[in-house]
């Protein structure tokens, strides 16, 4: 769990809803990391052009191989 006092959650429980691992942190990991292996049916999900999806908050971190050149969000 994130916060000032991390609580280990290594005992898997039933599927948690909003409680549990923060979604942003989870998506950081399941979407673009882990072993990238080419499956048969879906090319590695990191290559799906998620920019055009309206899930604006959570999917701009897909392709970790192309980091944003500026961290404050301005090209100037």
């Amino acid at each position: 769990m994130s916060g000032h006092e991390p609580v280990p959650w290594d005992t898997p429980g039933p599927l948690a809803g909003p409680i549990g691992v923060p979604l942003v942190d989870l998506l950081d990991r399941v979407l673009s990391t882990g072993v990238v292996v080419s499956g048969d049916l879906v090319i590695a999900i990191a290559e799906v052009p998620l920019v055009r999806l309206s899930l604006h908050a959570l999917l701009s971190s897909v392709n970790e191989r192309v980091p944003a050149p500026w961290s404050d969000g301005g090209p100037l």
Partner: protein, 99 residues
């Protein structure tokens, strides 16, 4: 801007009204604001370089000041705030720097 491809169902995700790039007016104003900020930065650099006369500095400064005021007015007319204009470029971050 996000748009659906033909046949794609509307996203059930609740679209945030403040998300720029979907409203045409906001988009236009955002682009104008980008230009305004670029011009301002360029002007500041020129002033710092010291290769402008006092008259030129004054003229440019006044022009930019009025331009900012005009942009603010325009935004207000469309129920927007100047500082809220922006465009989310996904992995590239946002178009305009965030304060």
């Amino acid at each position: 801007m996000t748009g659906g491809t033909p046949g794609t169902p509307e996203s059930r995700f609740d679209l945030d009204r403040e998300q720029m790039g979907r409203d045409l007016v906001s988009l236009v104003l955002t682009v104008v604001e980008l230009l305004r900020q670029l011009m301002e930065r360029q002007a500041i650099r020129r002033v710092e370089q010291g290769d402008l006369s006092e008259e030129q500095v004054e003229h440019i400064g006044e022009t930019l000041m009025h331009l900012e005021a005009r942009m603010t007015e325009l935004c207000e007319q469309h129920d927007l705030r100047l500082e809220d204009l922006n465009l989310d470029l996904g992995p590239l971050g946002s178009l305009l720097p965030r304060n």
